[in-house]
């Protein structure tokens, strides 16, 4: 009798374990991954890069909200060369100093020299991309907190076009933007809530900086799909580009964690941070080729 009871208990326990495993393997759909372009499904999708070997599970994380103190925000402002007191507006700390402003979101901040950022006029003293890149790297390194490091950087040139009343156009550079991909405690992160953008203007001075780096708390392991299955998932979901697509080719492929915008996580105590496959995809339509970035959820089961 006793062994029968033991067997029944074991069976119940087993059911509970199986049920829990199923639950932890199912995660919500990340609804903000979709772009608003032209979606083309089931086109020929080839791969021109090596797909990494990944384990069958990845750890899930929770975003931890860190509301910084007034004193800490004022210290960041001073590090940026600003003076002035921090005020709380709409639940965020702000410091203003002349045309400079700093808005602190807790897990990130936005610094802006309002007079210099995105000017539409020629800027004597604007350096080349290499020189500005070195300046941006120095500034970026100064503001990275412990545990946050740079994975890669992408350069974009800010451009202005002036058209006079006679239709004469003058196109010229106005600044350099450097977009950094980050890792937090060794976890590679992508998305609006995990990025660093540094804008360098004339004389390699800082025009603006947007910085968002989440604090992450490890959770349970999550079963994920293979890279090949992720490509299949993308093909069925569709590739989003600005044009219809005849075919597409994956040129870069890696695994990272998607962090939503800080603004949408401010009111939430705990936001789940999930792994996504990040793909650079070259989309072809006739003679035109366009490169887009696609995020594909890596979880095996998505609600």
């Amino acid at each position: 009798m006793r062994w029968k009871l033991g067997l029944a208990m074991a069976a119940i326990t087993g059911l509970i374990v199986v049920s829990n495993v199923a639950k932890q393997n199912s995660v919500p759909e990340i609804s903000e991954l979709g772009k608003r372009g032209v979606v083309t499904k089931n086109i020929p999708l080839s791969v021109r890069t090596s797909l990494p070997a990944v384990p069958s599970t990845q750890r899930l994380y929770r975003l931890v909200q860190n509301k910084r103190s007034l004193v800490e925000v004022e210290k960041t402002a001073r590090d940026l060369g600003m003076s002035g007191k921090a005020n709380e507006i709409d639940g965020r700390f702000m410091v203003r100093d002349g045309s400079n402003s700093l808005t602190d979101y807790g897990s990130g901040f936005w610094y802006l020299d309002e007079q210099n950022f995105a000017q539409a006029q020629k800027r004597p003293g604007l350096q080349d991309a290499n020189s500005s890149g070195a300046a941006a790297n120095r500034i970026a390194a100064r503001f990275l907190p412990p545990g946050v490091s740079i994975v890669s950087v992408e350069h974009h040139e800010g451009k202005a076009t002036i058209t006079d009343a006679n239709g004469k156009e003058d196109i010229f550079p106005i600044g350099h933007e450097f977009r950094y991909r980050l890792s937090v405690s060794g976890v590679p992160v992508v998305g609006p809530g995990a990025q660093l953008r540094v804008y360098i203007g004339a004389n390699n001075e800082l025009d603006a900086m947007f910085f968002a780096a989440p604090s992450l708390r490890p959770e349970k392991e999550l079963r994920i799909i293979t890279p090949a299955a992720a490509i299949d998932r993308l093909q069925r979901r569709g590739v989003t580009a600005s044009q219809l697509a005849d075919s597409a080719e994956v040129t870069e492929f890696d695994l990272a964690y998607y962090v939503p915008p800080i603004i949408s996580t401010l009111d939430e105590q705990e936001t789940l941070i999930q792994p996504v496959y990040v793909m650079k995809v070259q989309v072809s339509h006739g003679d035109s080729v366009e490169t887009v970035t696609e995020y594909v959820q890596a979880a095996e089961q998505v609600d």
């Binding site: 991954l33 979709g34 372009g37 083309t40 309002e114 800010g158 058209t163």
Partner: protein
């Protein structure tokens, strides 16, 4: 859900939140429901969106709570005639649209008669002629990819803010944009900041005019605030992209 109404300023609760020096008015439009309409730019199907209306209503709620006035238009109510002279958008200071877009203009969830979605294209309207519309913010893909094509649409309008790239379907962008405007940022900076902070792949842009006001003073509309409602002559046009 379809709704359209004029929301009055909510003065009662503004005592504990920041209020801009003077109240402005906004046309707020959001569109999610496009299917089965076809894209006027590519001819392909238009997918439904899920966050545009939420983004627009978030923007609306924050601006009305700050004492501003809004006119709202969502989904099937968002139609070409909203942009006519003497119509909804022209009666306001700033028009904010969120939905689909293309390099040839922003796309409305309205059938143009042949199953293709209606589109506001360059030159279709002279914004600002009879109304007071000064700014248009387009949370839609690629609408400023060919920025200078919008030159013929300016007739009192100060600037159009948008993107040169594809953008994601974000429910947080309207909140971010409203918060930045409420915090006293210029329209350009408020929009750039909102787009950057909600889409790590996006490239923001602005297209506008430089000129003189009635008193003859040079005016650069790139540094406009939502209170900068003066008339500006058109001497030159600028665009800024990243």
């Amino acid at each position: 859900m379809t709704k359209r109404w004029i929301a009055p300023s909510i003065v009662v609760i503004t005592c504990c939140i920041p209020v801009t020096a003077s109240a402005a008015s906004f046309y707020v439009a959001g569109a999610n429901l496009y299917s089965p309409l076809r894209n006027p730019y590519t001819g392909g199907p238009l997918s439904n969106l899920s966050k545009s209306v939420v983004s627009a209503t978030n923007f609306n709620d924050l601006m009305t709570a700050a004492g501003h006035t809004t006119v709202q238009s969502y989904n099937s109510s968002v139609v070409i005639s909203d942009w006519n002279p003497d119509s909804l958008a022209e009666g306001t200071d700033l028009a904010y649209f969120t939905g689909h877009g293309a390099p040839t203009g922003w796309i409305l969830p309205q059938d143009n008669g042949s199953g293709i979605a209606a589109q506001v294209k360059p030159g279709m309207f002279n914004f600002g002629t009879d109304g007071k519309l000064r700014w248009i913010t387009l949370d839609a893909c690629q609408v400023l990819m060919n920025a200078s094509t919008w030159q013929s649409s300016f007739s009192g309008l100060h600037s159009i803010t948008g993107a040169t790239t594809l953008t994601n379907d974000s429910g947080a962008r309207g909140t971010a944009y409203a918060n930045n405007l409420r915090a006293g940022q210029t329209i350009k900076n408020a929009w750039f900041n909102a787009l950057i902070s909600t889409d790590s792949l996006a490239g923001p842009a602005i297209y506008g005019i430089r000129g003189q006001n009635i008193g003859g003073t040079s005016v650069d509309t790139i540094n406009d605030y939502i209170t900068s409602t003066q008339w500006v002559s058109e001497l030159s046009w600028y665009s800024v992209t990243f």
